[in-house]
Amino acid sequence: MATDDILDVRGWVRIGMDSVAENTVGMSRHWEYTDGVAWFLTEFVMTIVIFGGIMSTLFVLLWMERKLLGRFMDRRGAVTSLRSLWVGEGGVTAGEWWNQLPFGTGVPIGMLNRTLNKVAGNDHELEAVSRVKNRSYHGVWWMLPGFFQNLADGMKFMTKEHMVPEKADRFVYEVAPFMIIATTVMCFTFIPLGPQIYSNDSELSILFLMAIFSIAPLGVFFAGWSSNNKYTLLGGIRSAAQLTAYEIPLLIVVLSVVVLSGSFNMIEVIEFQADSGVWNIFLLPLGGLLFMVTMVAEVERIPFDMPEAEAELVEGWWTEYGGMRWGLMFSAEYLRTYVACLLFAHFFLGGWEAPFEDTIPFISMVPHVVWVFLKSWFIFIFFVWLRASLHRVRTDQILEFGWRWLLPLSLVNLAMATALRLWVYDGINGEWPILVPILITSIGLALFILLAIDEDPAAIEANTRPYSVQTTDVASPGQHRE
């Protein structure tokens, strides 16, 4: 059972549970069930380990969302605001924490920081940020200010009154949030955090995971309908329409990953990427893009958050919920986002495999589980980036986009995956010809860049939209007097 993996959690747990079972059940007259009990206990403990691992790192996600949004919404834009992490605003650096380091180890950091401040620092006194700065955190950055905010939020939700609308369908109203949160948490069962950190390794784990992942929309619809409110009803119907429209392309994209890797088992998909030497994103860049877009729609984030469009539907299908039930649905939303990020990391970014594992020396010293989390958090940055920079589309527009664009594109992606697997993949060596990913990635990038340039030079030349405001009559002040 024990492997050479330094984090063989499953092996340790199995050893421990074996001894527990032998010393309890094995001593009794039911000794023939020893193996079964040890297996059950192992699964039980591993489920708790996975659950705890994902739930505790959910704090990182929420923290990242808050801090990144704050940085993105800073008017200087992403790049310059990242710079403000180490170069101070208004010519003043934040806190001079390096002076507190022992044995003068912080002196070079301070020198570097002063130099950067002189060269790239911002000493414009009128920068509006210097006003905002007045409200910012004055403590030390390594205390991760705001990291445990959600614990406080959760405590607050716990103490709130549980209110049910008078004319709500009480049973469905009560069940819906638990339907959403329970199915979301169940998704973790099939998500491995490392080669030996998983709770379930069934043959069809991807299929099962996607099936469970698709139950939550039903809960959303129940919640919207049972609240007996027009806004929640509209939100629930929108949610049903949107999620069914995006479920199909999502599943076809997942199917293309399955076809490419030749397995419905999550762990085998990851190991296939590690063994063949190429991550799936370099073979299916279109698939990665489609997976990202459909997942944003599935987890109902901007720009696809019509079911809870707060501008017109108040809070959509959430409107009537309060207290901890609202808190559960809120956490379920972020858990679903987290599942989406983890799935992207596993399907397209090679799961726990370190980048350039064979090339960079000592990189395999980093535990596998670290890569899983780093990759999924990296994907989450994209989610936040989208949210900070995009607007909300309309229901008819999102449905049109889903059916007319994403569905055909996902079929194209599936055909590509099939062709790659059948005719390009060298089954004997178990490797991809190295030119194939390079070619596909560069073609994909070139197409993306070409399509991203959507400016119409003729329209700009003719002074039509989008910059069409002009003065039709030249207004001359006092003209009326003449």
């Binding site: 008017r75 069409s468 009559d473």
Partner: protein, 378 residues
Amino acid sequence: MAEMWISMGPQHPMTHGLWTLKVKIDGETVVDTEPDLGYIHRGVEKICEARDFTQITTYCDRLCYASANTWSHAYIYAAEDLLGVEVPERAEYIRMVAVELQRIASHLMWLGAYCPDVGNLTGMVWCLREREMMMDLLQELGGSRLHYNFPRVGGVKRDLPIGFAMRCRAKLKLFLDRIQEYEAILDESTIFLIRTQGVGYAKAEDMVNHGVTGVNVRAAGHNYDVRWAHPYSIYDELDWTVAVERPSIKGSDCYDRYRVRVEEMRNSAMMVLEGLDKMPGGAETNHPSGDPAIIAKAPARAPEGQTGFHHFEDSRGESMFYLVGGGEGRGKHPYRVSIRSPMFITIPYAAKCMIGYKIADIPAIMGSFDPCIGETDR
């Protein structure tokens, strides 16, 4: 789904104030609308009948919290018409600076509210941050952040503070750069364009028939700006042009209204910069309060039966004040104060504009007309 009425408001994110929009929907499509106004009617006109001419300014400030200066100035010009006061030219320039800064702040407030209407919070944070600069400048003039109580009958409360011109120029220069960032996040975003273009068509002739004025009607190609058509104050001494959108056959859509407001922010900033340059006596000089250079002597009582009238280009349209003097019997109070609110006329028209569009277009269309309920209900 059968048709049903939804009551949006009085507490609803779409309303930007306290009013109710009853919407009849068929599925996602709006079939009929019915605005319901009057939730915050305070009776400002009646209150003003029991106040001095100086005291009324504070009430006019509170007609619209997003655009206080324009409303108090609209009143002040009417009061000066009634009382027959000749205002020093320097005071007119200072008033122009205050009003145009307020117009920028008001349009920024509008854009900041419009971005979340179409689903983007970043635009709101950016706009409100720039609005903060304008409010700092106005605070230097008036002393408070929202309700400045700045103009006086015959002039202004205070001269420009020392250093105001320098700070104002620097901030406006910065602001003119930052308008380009709004255009980068809005005009160059396809989602923003598909949400606003082709939505909420309003024709110029319909709007003129309804009495809609200001930015909304200029967006439809009708070149009517009170500052240009009937120049008051010193607007005919400035070098500026009215921002007018070239209309399409169907009229103006939400995007047109957005563009005109952004252009108007630019124009206002340029006007303030020019006004600071042309300021009689120089923008850096500072007269004490009550100096004849910034305020003229004004009578406290208006003769009976005499009327004063002024129409003013507010941030949201053409506002009008009509005052009737009360004579000795009324003391220092006017006999009658009548206020024309541009949004009171615009909101019912905007509500009719939504028919035929989707529910998601309701905030996009309503927000593009820039409703302000304080002035609507008065």
